[in-house]
Amino acid sequence: MPIKSYLALACENQLEALRTEVLALGCEVIPAENKDVLIVISETKNEEEDKALLEKLNSMKNLRHLTLVSAFAE
């Protein structure tokens, strides 16, 4: 049951679009106050699903950079 948090930096002026993309993938989103960054929390059933989700996150068109912050697994 991997749970991960990421910082997602949006392409210029695309924060809202990125937020919509992330929400569509079923992740939780916390917008940061500095307006350029989202905190993305993902929870998946297993490593395979986690890997697939990461690929989807990385391929989002409004994403400039995604960086893993923490990970929990049971």
Partner: protein, 761 residues
Amino acid sequence: MAIASAAMAAATLFPGIIFPNEQLKGLPDGDDIKWKKSPCRFCGVGCGLLIGVQKGKAVAVKGDPASEVNKGLCCVKGYHSVLAIYGKDRLTKPLIRRNGKLEPATMKEALDLVASKMKENIAKHGKDSVAIYGSGQWTIPDGYVASKFMKGVIGTNNLEANARLCMASAVTGFMTSFGMDEPMGCYEDIDHADVFVMWGNNMAEMHPVLFSRMLDQRLRRNGVKIIDFATRTTRTSMASDRSILFKPQTDLAVANAICYEILKNNWHNRGFLQKHCVFKSGKTNIGYGLEDKFQFKDEPKDMTLEQFKAFLEDYRPEKVEKLSGVSAKDIKYMASLYGDPNKKVMSLWCMGPNQHTRGTWMNNLIYNIHLLTGKISTPGNSPFSLTGQPSACGTVREVGTLTHALPYGTVDNEKAREKAAKIWGVPVTNISPKPTYHTVEMFRALDRGDIKFIWIQTTNPFVSMPKLKRYREGAKKDDRFVVVSDVYPTPTTDVADVVLPAAMWIEREGMFGNSERRTQHFEKMLEPQGEAFSDAWQMIEVARRMGYEKYFPWTKENHVEKIWEEYYKFHEGDKHGIAPYEVLKKESGVVWPYVNGKSTKWRYHAKYDPAAKGDSFDFYGKPDGKAWIWVRPYEPPAESPDNDYPFWLNTGRVLEHWHTGSMTRRVAVLHQAMPHSYAELHPNDASRLGVKTGDKVKLTSRRGSLVLPASVNERGLPTEGQVFVPFFDESLLINELTLDSFCPISREPDYKKCAVKVEKA
């Protein structure tokens, strides 16, 4: 809980998310939880924590809203810090090596053996055959006992600490430019500065709480700019207004080019320069310390402003562009920020300029820029050298746990020796006027056999030393005796003859001193595990067994207070006065010089500093009250990429792990977030090598090789031709590859530059 922690971990990297009220959510509650103040165990920022203790166990952490350092904010390491106390494999019993194997023993047996080995070696080989190697994670009382024991009582200067590996260049930078160590400003500068220039400093990961304070200021005030000047793109670069990349080692040339531009455009502060500065030149082509018993002594010579200008002709931005890869436009931009009389500028740096074969020079050059423009010692105008460890300043720099130093002054100064001898109650002839071995040379001496006995405390050199193999193998030689005091098994305890379990952080009373001259006290909150007790008390027990009880007449209960009272005498006066014990116990931190019941936030200016004479600046560390602007040229590093080894290797830390990972890798959340080391590659290099994230790559230098997973387009992005590897992972020892070259003035090794080849494994 895991979801909340994941969110918390991410949020702590940016301001406006985690504040005290939010941190209280989800914390255990109950009348029987006592909240006690302590500085954080980990980095040099010195965040104030409140630790919840319930039924003899630390159960929770929150940021201390009363702390001026972090104002209630915490980073992911601080938030999980108490979990590092409860790793399953804590060392709780002493171990003695018998027939090649470490076996459990009693504390009495172990301490008797340590004392007898120390005595035996002194009798057979002389007092310089024994050594103590300590830490910037020692508490101030630990360092003080080590200094008194080795320098005053035994009479050897064989005392060093791992802070030599991280801040020695900062010390020699301060000493050569100002004649006194440690920053003139404080963290409050962040609330006043308009521009922040980070020199090779990934603050978002290494000093996240301070970085958050900086980002917070950018949100609150118009026009605040953050410039990241570095050799690789990091989280700091992402959050900055401008990321400027330079080729390794060429920061020397760029700093000079900034000075050139400032003078060319008449942005210098003439009145300030005339009244408060002098110009000096030193030796050049000063070597790299690669050979044993390397010696170097600088010879300062007077210069004029005109000669300084003539020297800078070689550093025109257009010329430096070719060497550094930084465009002339960017150099001029940086110079214009420093040169704008309406902007307050703060420069921040840590390991980039310090772990540098010209580390002292780099520190001098950053001061040059601030001195040329007069932007120093006033709120928001601040060249600020950050430290990496919680008490590198407090224990190593202020107590002086380095071979050349004393708690006040240096061993080669007769008055300083007399003062120490008087306070310690030892004959002045006990204190040798000659420094012996700095850290790299200390381990070389152990390898050669000049040192036979070494006691290592609170540090893990057989992960952190450069060119590791030589020093590890040296320690294993037959007639060497190695004692290690620590809280967990490490590659260093693996080579020990005796392992002593140490009390960790809040399992004993102590004080740490952070980057901004702030001393913070913490009480004993927990009972140490098993038979462990503090490093200070371990040394006192050994000293007593060697017949030196009269120098350490304190009890286990009162020794911290008594040590502080004795140490206090070294720093009396308005230039370095420290707070009395009762004040430290009450406050969440006190900044020295502590004069007339007040902290001195900015030194060297009469408006803020009671020790400064006149009505403005007084750089009283130098006899004539003037700061020194140094002529320091660009010189290449000891080793650069070539046809055989075409990549630069850069090493460093990551957010989740503290140094060699011996504590943070035992915290499940932190370990899972960053389970192993990796080799960060530029995507173009990765593509040429046919490597993607997770693929194994083999790194080889002239000293060794290592296979580890590649990381491409993940956390950081090195420039093409560079590979970055964190050093926290004891199963992937990157220091097998690094080079033991060092700055000839500070003797601090350069962990940021050596040559490697990279192959798909």
